[in-house]
């Protein structure tokens, strides 16, 4: 018997309201549990601090039917429930037909077993993979302590090369950059009812105790992908140490709308290299009205990393990320050319 878990209460929520009211009543010592892949590990490892409690109550939201589904609403927006598993997301016909970058992202997360249980919401709301954050003996900023240990310590893999402040962790989600590149919205459930914000604004950086805007009585309900993002050219690429299990050392999500060979819209979002998924500024200005080609793709990659200021031992991520950006845009160029040739026939 291992019984690494401390005592807790477990509530199956029947509805959204049920869940919200439990969270509201209990406060900081309650947390929602969806797949539990990250949450249970954190509890078992006793990751805690003045700003991070080990929960006493787990509110199960897998028992709420409305957030287990992927639906298409009347306006053509795709809604993905936060408790949809990553394997269901990967294999969903609607998602595959409209948003190919999402299965590209989902299938590279974790392992088969993790994808069978882990959820979209869990992937977006997961905690950092920083080794100091997850070590019970290092009390860092995120847990309410007074310093960051990684900045002068170990920071080669899951750490930032840009946008960091006092905390240098890199956000580990793969679904986040892929969904942000699709201009997705996050719909949150809370005491005030439902609220919708751009997914890009869901994340918080700079060493705050939480990585998202969720209050202790809120949880992610679903992600809405706006109807007009269907059929946009898209690509998601991830680079990691092993071909299974590992998080991204760097990831890139790109969406480009191409009309008659010319770029109209472009969004590039970088993951694994910044405390929050990084939307590359000025990408649309650079590409709009132009044809994708080797030279412009190279320029885009250089521009995207202009603001990079890597840590002492993760400089290699700059070149790595530029390569991934070039490859993602090349993928889009090639898929666009293929379609063009198909139409020509």
């Amino acid at each position: 018997m291992l019984l690494d878990l401390p005592p807790f209460d477990h509530i199956d929520a029947a509805t959204i309201e049920d869940a919200v009211s439990s969270l509201q009543k209990i406060g900081k010592k309650a947390r929602v549990i969806a797949g539990g892949s990250d949450l249970l590990g954190l509890i078992k490892d006793e990751v805690k601090g003045p700003e991070m409690d080990i929960p006493d109550v787990l509110v199960n939201i897998k028992t709420i039917p409305e957030i287990q589904r992927i639906t298409l609403d009347r306006e053509g927006n795709v809604r993905i429930g936060a408790a949809v598993t990553l394997s269901d997301l990967e294999n969903d016909a609607l998602i595959q037909s409209r948003y190919s970058s999402l299965p590209q992202a989902a299938r590279q997360i974790g392992t088969t077993q993790i994808r069978n249980v882990g959820t979209l919401g869990g992937n977006l709301c997961q905690r950092p993979r920083c080794m100091y954050f997850r070590h019970p003996h290092f009390l860092c900023f995120k847990k309410g302590g007074g310093r960051c240990f990684a900045v002068t310590g170990e920071h080669r893999d899951y750490y930032s090369i840009m946008n960091y402040g006092k905390c240098v962790m890199a956000h580990p989600s793969d679904m986040a950059p892929a969904l942000i590149a699709l201009h997705s919205k996050a719909v949150l459930a809370g005491p005030g009812g439902e609220r919708e914000i751009p997914l890009a604004e869901f994340f918080l950086g700079d060493g705050r105790p939480e990585e998202t805007v969720l209050t202790s009585a809120e949880f992610l309900k679903y992600i809405r992908i706006p109807w007009h993002m269907g059929n946009i050219h898209q690509c998601f690429l991830k680079y990691r140490i092993r071909q299974s299990t590992d998080f991204a050392l760097s990831s890139v999500a790109a969406t480009v709308r191409i009309s008659d060979g010319f770029c109209e819209e472009a969004t590039v979002v970088l993951g694994g290299i910044s405390p929050i998924p990084h939307v590359v500024a000025g990408m649309e200005d650079l590409l709009k009205g132009k044809r994708l080609c080797e030279e412009i793709i190279a320029r885009a990659a250089e521009k995207a990393l202009e603001g990079a200021h890597p840590l002492r031992f993760n400089r290699y991520k700059v070149d790595l990320t530029k390569a991934l950006i070039r490859r993602a845009l090349n993928f889009i160029l090639e898929s666009e050319s293929r379609e063009g040739r198909a139409i020509d026939r």
């Binding site: 018997m1 392992t111 680079y239 140490i241 092993r242 299990t245 790595l320």
Partner: protein, 778 residues
């Protein structure tokens, strides 16, 4: 060369003189059925009536002294049955790896060291009890980094602080000299010096350490997760001042060891002590984090090699300086003073050598046998350097190695002979065949052209490496024994005190007996993994098992067989010497048509006097030397934009003597390469906080074992040789298969991108940094 005879005490049996019907067959492993059905019980699976659960409180600091410990609140927690601290265990030592260690000292010397142990009715209560133990530490300045540590003398010990083995091994260079190394360098047309580093490596066996101990007032039984029941028995008896006959150790199945479980682990001692205190069985199971923190792993190394050679490739001089981070304790089992340099001395012919090996004590966790313990840190630098030398001389790396091929050993393994320069033959050495086999199989002739391969960001390369390892066990004073009994109902029992650690020992050792007796494998009933009913057998580590157990098993089987022949002789009207047996039949050698089934003869055995045969291993002679050899070649693809390596194919050849079971043997070769080999080369790394020395990745998430999607395809070949000293020429050596893999990968990487990397693991970070530096140089 000395006499070639089976390494048994007394007279070896005559050779079988017939074709083999069992040995050499690719039979399924005989304990596979229970494993694939979930019926196999490991120590983690055991439950006993009245069983208590033990838990350990561990020191979070690398070096500290307990200034206050008060377990009174834990002791009175309902459900707690015993609490051990330094207060009630004074004078008690454990003998993990035979290292005498104060069980619960006042002064702690490595992270995770035990400070208190609790037994309770359930795990939950035991864990809560740990939280109730009040403890205060004075933290002391830890020794972390080898080079930093060497700048100052060792800090004086505090209180009962001890570093077992420090007097023998700390900072004491062991030097091997031959010829005149300065003169040798003077004769060289090319001299190259490089420094290499290899990281720590953790066994990460999928089963963590677990045991159940039961003291009944007179006798101790431990159902353990050890690779050696007899070694464990001895250590436990010593720790508790018991007669060894009072201690029994049982292992039915073991979930991986790779050297980490070669003796009774610390929890075995604590579980036994708790059982003695409570008079109930006690189960202790390590968590994965404890498994990382608290058992010995591979030492990291820093090795400087300088080699000199003539234009034609002849080596003239080798200088080597080896630093090994030993951690907080050492003994001859977990640190061999010349373990690394022995290989540098012997792998190639070089007349002038000066080799130094220095172990450095630090407050990192203990280090110990880890699959090919000396070989990994020894062979990586040596085989990397050989390739760099060849490159600088403009010679083909294979030809360069063959040019310096040595058919004899210059340095012995026996402690008393290690410093002498010798010229002793190997019992057999087919390393040249191995090297030729793997390079031919990989397509070595494509190597030059492949270095020009360029497809977008992809480059390709081929590389090779070879290795030598000391082999064959036979260390005095532990003599391996085996016994065979034959019964009137036809049952044949083989009694061997070995543990099957996954290498198929239960299968191959029984195959030796079956062949010698002339019966089928299934006719042998195995009594193993238990000190009761068996005699001393070595732990299954250090590549000892097949080499040490094979000969006594053969001898025991032959002895029993001859006694059976004496009964058969009466029925077949010949003398026993005229008989042979095969496929379950005893037959007249000169007239095979005249035969009787073994079972029928057995029915004439006196039920009160079953037949017995016994065998005992002789220690290894001084001459010849027994070694294992092998070579590997690797073809890989590198992405120069991401630094990612994809190994396309590995070819491997190993000289085991002969394989008792080729199916199991090939599994070992492949298995060692793809995990301990590829992992060490590319993905595994113990990561420590530079300031505090704490391990930051004691988990299977960020200590990265190769997954199914990371492992390359391996084509493995067995290069066979005659080895009359061993049973059916089975010299063994399946442990060592991971040895040359990292160097072969690194040499292939050079072939692909023209960069020499000297530090493992070969990560994207290192490759991209090196490529950028090369680019900036231009």
């Amino acid at each position: 060369m000395g006499e070639k005879r089976l390494l048994v005490k007394g007279s070896p049996p005559a050779p079988l003189d017939r074709e083999l019907t069992v040995v050499g067959m690719p039979l399924n492993r005989r304990d596979g059925l229970e494993k694939v059905t979930g019926q196999a019980k490991y120590s983690s699976d055991l439950h006993m009536p009245g069983m208590l659960h033990g838990k350990i409180l561990r020191c979070p600091h690398l070096r500290a002294r307990i200034t206050r410990i008060d377990a009174s609140r834990a002791e009175i927690l309902p459900g707690v049955r015993a609490v051990l601290t330094k207060e009630n265990t004074k004078g008690w030592r454990t003998y993990w790896y035979e290292i005498p260690q104060i069980a619960l000292p006042e002064c702690l010397t490595y992270e995770g060291q035990e400070v208190a142990v609790v037994a309770a009715e359930d795990v939950d209560t035991a864990q809560r009890a740990l939280d109730l133990i009040e403890i205060e530490y004075e933290t002391l300045e830890p020794m972390i980094d080898m080079e930093e540590v060497l700048k100052n003398p060792p800090p004086p010990c505090v209180a009962d602080e001890e570093y077992p083995g420090r007097d023998l091994f700390d900072r004491k260079p062991f030097i091997l000299r031959r010829g005149d190394v300065e003169k040798g360098f003077g004769e060289a047309d090319l001299t190259l010096e490089e420094t290499y580093t290899t990281p720590t490596q953790y066994h990460a066996s999928i089963q963590t350490r677990a045991c159940v101990a039961n003291w009944d007032g007179q006798n101790l039984i431990v159902w353990d997760s050890t690779q050696g029941v007899w070694n464990s028995k001895g250590s436990l008896a010593k720790s508790f001042g018991l007669d060894p006959d009072q201690v029994r150790v049982i292992v039915e199945h073991l979930g991986g060891g790779f050297g980490s479980k070669a003796w009774a682990h610390r929890i075995s001692f604590f579980a036994a002590k708790l059982s003695m205190a409570t008079k109930r069985p006690v189960k202790m199971e390590q968590s994965r984090e404890e498994e990382f923190l608290n058992h010995p792993h591979r030492y990291n190394s820093k090795i400087t090699l300088r080699m000199g050679a003539k234009k034609d490739g002849t080596l003239t001089a080798t200088y080597e300086k080896v630093f090994l981070n030993i951690g907080a304790a050492a003994n001859r089992h977990n640190y061999n003073a010349n373990g690394i340099i022995w290989q540098t001395s012997n792998l190639y012919a070089c007349p002038n050598v000066h080799l130094e090996q220095i172990g450095v004590f630090t407050n990192l966790q203990l280090t110990g046998p880890t699959r090919s313990p000396f070989n990994m840190p020894a062979i990586f630098p040596l085989e990397c350097h050989m390739d760099k030398m060849a490159g600088a001389l403009g010679l083909d790396p294979l030809e360069f190695r063959l040019k310096n091929y040595s058919t004899y050993a210059s340095t012995h393994v026996k402690a008393e002979l290690r410093e002498k320069e010798m010229k002793i033959s190997y019992s057999s050495k087919k390393l040249d065949e191995c090297m030729k086999k793997v390079t031919e199989a990989i397509g070595w002739e494509r190597r030059k052209a492949l270095s020009c391969f360029c497809q977008g960001p992809k480059r390709k390369g081929i590389g090779m490496a070879a290795f030598i390892a000391h082999q064959g066990g036979g260390i005095f004073p532990n003599t391996a024994h085996a016994d065979v009994s034959i019964h009137p109902d036809g049952s044949i029992n083989l009694y061997i005190g070995v543990v099957d650690i996954g290498g198929g020992q239960k299968t191959i050792l029984a195959m030796i007996a079956a062949e010698e007796l002339g019966v089928a494998l299934d006719d042998i009933t195995l009594i193993s993994g238990d000190t009761e009913g068996t005699r001393y057998a070595p732990s299954c580590h250090s590549s000892r098992c097949t080499a040490e157990m094979g000969p006594p098993i053969l001898q025991a089987a032959a002895q029993a067989r001859q006694k059976l022949f004496e009964i058969a002789a009466r029925f077949l009207h010949v003398t026993a010497e005229e008989l042979a047996s095969k496929n379950g039949e005893i037959y007249v050698r000169s007239n095979p048509g005249v035969s009787m089934p073994v079972r029928t003869i057995c029915s004439n055995i006196d039920p009160d006097n079953p037949i017995w045969g016994s065998g005992s291993r002789e220690i290894n002679p001084e001459d010849p030397i027994f070694s294992s050899f092998g070579a590997q070649a690797v073809e890989l693809e590198v992405d120069v934009e991401t630094g990612g390596i994809k190994i396309l194919r590995v070819t491997a050849a190993q000289d085991f003597g002969k394989a008792i079971n080729p199916k199991l043997c090939l599994s070992q070769i492949v298995g060692g390469i793809v995990e301990f080999g590829v992992g060490f080369a590319l993905t595994e790394e113990g990561i420590y906080d530079a300031k505090t020395g704490k391990m930051l990745n004691p988990n299977l998430h960020q200590y990265r074992l190769p997954t199914s999607l990371d492992v390359p395809h391996v084509d493995a070949f067995l290069v066979e040789s005659q080895e009359p000293h061993f049973a059916f020429s089975a010299r063994g050596g399946a442990e060592l298969t991971n040895t040359p893999t990292p160097a072969a990968i690194r040499n292939a990487l050079y072939n692909a991108i023209g960069i020499w990397l000297n530090d493992l693991p070969l990560t994207s970070e290192k490759i991209l940094t090196a490529l950028r530096a090369k680019h900036e140089e231009r």
